[in-house]
Symmetry: C2
Subunit: 325 residues, 2 copies
Amino acid sequence: MATLQDVAVAAGVSPATASRALSTPASVSMERRHRVLEAAERLGYRPNRSAQALASGRSGHIGLVVPDLANPFFATVAKGVQSQARGAHRSVLVADTDEDVRAEREIVDDLQPNVGGLLLCSPRMPEDEIRDAAARGPVVVVNREVAGLASVSFDVASGVHAALAHLRALGHTRVAYVGGPSTSWSDARRRAALTEVAGLEIVDVGGQRPIHQGGVAAADLVIAAGATAVLAYNDLVALGVMARLHARGLSVPGDVSVIGFDDIPAAAYVSPALTTVALPLTRAGHEATTLLDGLDAAAEPPTVRLPVELVVRDSTGPAALPLKG
Amino acid sequence: MATLQDVAVAAGVSPATASRALSTPASVSMERRHRVLEAAERLGYRPNRSAQALASGRSGHIGLVVPDLANPFFATVAKGVQSQARGAHRSVLVADTDEDVRAEREIVDDLQPNVGGLLLCSPRMPEDEIRDAAARGPVVVVNREVAGLASVSFDVASGVHAALAHLRALGHTRVAYVGGPSTSWSDARRRAALTEVAGLEIVDVGGQRPIHQGGVAAADLVIAAGATAVLAYNDLVALGVMARLHARGLSVPGDVSVIGFDDIPAAAYVSPALTTVALPLTRAGHEATTLLDGLDAAAEPPTVRLPVELVVRDSTGPAALPLKG
DNA sequence: GTGAAAGCGCTAACAC
DNA sequence: GTGTTAGCGCTTTCAC
């Protein structure tokens, strides 16, 4: 493996100049710069990131912490982060907490000293712990907002309102909300937005694990609640609700309308295709990575709230007669 | 941030002893070991991975290269890798090639000098390039086999045979195969297994992008081919085929039976639920990580081929009359 | 604009 | 067993 030293020798310059030519091109004369670049190219030089990190005190790595990599929501965000990071010649260290707060804490502690910045995606930790982490190094929170910290989140409230307006326009008057994990900030946001809507009766059937199985479990509660429509915490849960409804002989949207959240790929290709509040997931990954790059301890931490969009597909339709009561 | 130096001072030992206490506990007296561990704990010591890597010459990081993180297949493998790596106190650097060979090459070159080992998942590169990479450092190939290299793959042939036997038992005589990317090793494996089966006419309708959209495009070819059943490269493609079949007014499995590959979560919760060849993806991630750990340049590189299983759900049924010709 | 030299935090001989 | 010493490959003052 060729080292910077080798490149320097090959180019007939000092290691310092070689280093500058690569990282501060402007501070080196054109001629030497070219000699160095050429030598680096020719020798197939690859910087040793560990040495760079050790010497400079800052790692180029980005740490990405997600609750569940196998969840398409996080996988999509991760893809966005990864592509943006690559553009900036940085690598991404991903860690999966398995939806466990203890694991999350540990991972953050482990990761933070070894990365240049941390992307906390849907963190389940209490706010003060997140703030502690941010005090130790650059942190951007994704899909959650923490006062005083940089974050990228979604305009959930307007999504909820659009979904509810859509249902009301279809004649629904009683809709069930199937929630997500109690530790989820975005679930709290959805709930908060629910209470703000008039003309519609909302029954909260409780929180579920944010995966398909959670929806399956919730479907029976929805039926028992006598709702003609359901808004789910996310698409996975919505899909679970639909599956169970179907299994119990109910038609979607004939008997019950279903709306999800996120617009994961599967939402478009299940049948009936799922009406859902689409979140710009990949873009969130991009934005978060960009924010992290430009984070300035002095300045007011930037907060970006991405717009969402109701995508109406085939899982919502005119209200049927109430199932009961 | 507390350094090993700090810990050593606090424990009243030399840095070397502190280092040993943490990485080679057996080589330090019980008393000092405890003093060091206690001090480390108390100071919240976190090893600087960059320094470790630089000093020891080997990084603890595992580099994971996948074609598409948003593809549930790879996301699931990644989750397996990640969980196993964490158990071994190693971090995972993921990189997404976007199914592009050039990007893959670049990423491997970038990543390799900075990780302790590389996990190449479904690499699209030619064999000799993969072998070159393996010559430069520990490499385990996942979902592909390369002569002379360590790999974790799946017993695809027996999966294909099980699928075909299932279809034949249902009375099908003409089945279409919808392939994946031409650069895909596992697609070649599937094709090879197809030719080995008698009593069944196989029509190859060509390769597609290994995602939902690929299946949608292929469905019309399937219909035109007059097949009563289709075996798809993977579940995503199978789902795409089903969606298009449905859109064209054909029933699954009434008119056409569909079988996928992989058993991604969505396979179970679409309707009709997809019959598919299940691959132990998480386990593959585990095994690959374990192999990487134990890789010994001297020894014969280990090859593990994981068993697969046909999961029969609702997308396959008795053969209908041929659609045409 | 350029080079010499120090040192980031850690591990690994090497002596004791 | 334990401490001393010398780097790993790079960045970064600091002089020139």
